[in-house]
């Protein structure tokens, strides 16, 4: 057993335990934090197989952005834990069905995987370069379409949440900068004793 093996088992165990924590936690905030731990362990596994670019992107996108936003939303919720647990029993059959389907799919994947063939060239190729080349040559159209869909979602989210509110004072920097001494200050000579 090498050091890499020990680290693999460490991350793998951590990932599975954290995933159980996501499902099993009573408090939704703890669930999200366990999810973050799952992401982190998975990133560790990516590093071990030499896919450091994927690991960095996983950490940056999922831990640095997506999970933070989850956490923002979940923390803001006023959750009644007892009710949440009652409700969760109602959705148990659905959850179990989805879980079962995914488990079967995973089984098929494992069945078709060629275990004897190691992934070739992972340790020699600069995999950032390799991913970039694959994305911008062979998969250029799917990649561009995906980015377009994301752009639409982005604009959609802004359009849905943006509303002009009356009676809210907003700072208009351009208007502030356009003000000059002439239209902002008026100097008047007031005779002594006559100003009111």
């Amino acid at each position: 057993m090498t050091v890499a093996d020990i680290i693999f088992y460490l991350f793998a165990t951590l990932a599975v335990l954290a995933a159980l924590g996501v499902v099993g936690s009573r408090n939704p905030v703890h669930s999200v934090l366990f999810l973050v731990l799952t992401f982190f362990s998975t990133a560790g596994l990516f590093v071990l197989i030499g896919a450091e670019f994927l690991a960095a992107v996983l950490v940056m996108v999922y831990m640095g952005a997506v999970a933070i936003l989850f956490l923002f939303v979940v923390m803001m919720l006023d959750v009644d834990f007892a009710r949440l647990r009652r409700e969760s029993v109602r959705y148990l059959p659905l959850g179990l069905t989805v879980g079962f389907v995914m488990f079967v799919e995973l089984g098929f994947m494992v069945g078709h995987h060629h275990w004897d063939k190691a992934v070739s060239g992972l340790d020699t190729v600069n995999n950032t370069l390799a991913i970039g080349q694959a994305l911008y040559t062979r998969y250029l159209y799917p990649f561009e379409v995906a980015s377009l869909i994301l752009l639409v979602a982005l604009i959609g989210a802004v359009a849905l949440t943006h509303r002009e509110r009356k009676r809210v004072h907003r700072q208009d920097i351009a208007r502030q900068l356009a003000r000059t001494k002439e239209d902002a200050v008026e100097l008047r000579k007031v005779a002594s004793g006559e100003g009111a």
């Binding site: 090498t2 050091v3 408090n27 905030v29 703890h30 934090l33 973050v36 450091e52 670019f53 690991a55 960095a56 992107v57 950490v59 940056m60 831990m63 640095g64 952005a65 933070i68 956490l71 923002f72 923390m75 600069n126 950032t128 370069l129 970039g132 080349q133 700072q171 920097i173």
Partner: protein
């Protein structure tokens, strides 16, 4: 040096056995890296008080030790021996974990920071990406602290702080992309070595300014220290923390300042390269130290000079000014590279 290393290796293998020795060797390397880092972190607190003192025409701390040099130690002893208070309604586990989670990412990042072409703990190909990824984890410590404290001030402080960090991380990341485009590599050693002809700050001066302002915001420093805006929020996300657990947050903040200063020096100011080649006889480590030290000084200088921003102004600056500007520079850099050098990579 190589002989000495070989001797140490042989002795270690003989003493611990090959497997255990490889672990022990890693620990030794990490300690050798982090000890100076923690030393700088300790003394930047003193430097801050001295510099701000000088700018406000007062002596600063000068009672503990000659010229106040033992002041950070006295502070540390005080923080360690104070009572750590756990609020009754706090989520205990997360409350204790949170300060550690702010300090640890700040220290983890040092693994890829090169001090010279050879002197780097992990010379990995995605150095810049690793730094960005790890720095995005710092927000967790803060948001956990705010939430687990079960206090309104702490929670509001954490919300502000995390929103601010996430926003400015974006522009910080985008300012590094032109550098990566110019270098054609994510490896920090390559990034520095590529600056032999001229430092990146010359073609990318606006990016350097955006980078610096973004990291000031990212480390929650004045004039962007809204998370700790004391008139509104007491002490922000660490209102409920006391003794060393509050001290850990401060250490994390300073460790981040030191880190981003070094990163700025490496990425934009030529790292260990001397400004003119005649000065090459001075060791690279000194140059790197001087450049990073200058950036740290600017951090303190800004703190003594500028009033605090308002929160909406801060968000406006991040999203409406820095983001479009840095995106524009990415396109501009790509265009210039395409026109002058043709398609790269191949």
């Amino acid at each position: 040096m190589a002989d000495f290393l070989k001797m140490v290796h042989e002795m270690g293998v003989g003493f611990f056995g090959p497997l255990l020795w490889s672990l022990v060797w890693v620990v030794i390397k990490v300690v050798l890296l982090l000890a100076p880092v923690l030393f700088i972190v300790t003394y930047i607190t003193l430097a801050e008080r001295k510099v701000i003192g000088a700018m406000q025409v007062r002596p600063g701390p000068n009672r503990v030790g000659f010229f106040g040099v033992l002041q950070p130690l006295a502070d540390a002893v005080k923080l360690i021996f104070k009572e750590t208070i756990l609020p009754i309604k706090a989520d205990k586990g997360l409350f204790i974990l949170a300060p550690l989670l702010t300090l640890v990412p700040a220290l983890l990042s040092w693994a890829v920071v090169p001090f010279s072409p050879e002197l780097v703990l992990a010379n990995i190909n995605i150095g810049v990406l690793y730094l960005l990824a790890i720095s995005s984890l710092g927000a967790y410590g803060i948001i956990m602290a705010g939430w687990s404290s079960n206090s309104r001030y702490a929670f509001l402080g954490a919300m502000r702080s995390v929103a601010q960090m996430v926003s400015y991380e974006v522009s910080m990341g985008f300012t590094l992309i032109p550098v990566i485009l110019i270098t054609g590599s994510l490896n920090l050693v390559d990034v520095v070595e590529h600056q032999k002809t001229w430092w990146n700050v010359i073609p990318l001066a606006p990016m350097f300014f955006i980078y610096f302002i973004s990291v000031v915001a990212e480390t929650n420093r004045t004039p962007f220290d809204l998370p700790e805006a004391e008139p509104e929020l007491v002490a922000g996300f660490f209102t409920e923390y006391s003794a060393m657990s509050a001290g850990l947050f401060l250490m994390g903040e300073y460790a981040n300042i030191v880190l981003v200063s070094f990163l700025g020096a490496l990425v934009f100011l030529g790292g260990w390269l001397p400004p003119v080649s005649i000065l090459g006889f001075i060791p690279g480590l000194v140059w790197l130290g001087l450049k990073a030290g200058f950036l740290m000084f600017v951090f303190l200088w800004i703190r003594a000079t500028f009033p605090r921003y308002r929160y909406d102004q801060l968000m406006r600056l991040g999203w409406k000014v820095f983001l479009p500007l840095s995106l524009f520079w990415i396109f501009l850099t790509g265009l210039v590279l395409q026109l002058t050098q043709g398609v790269r990579g191949g």
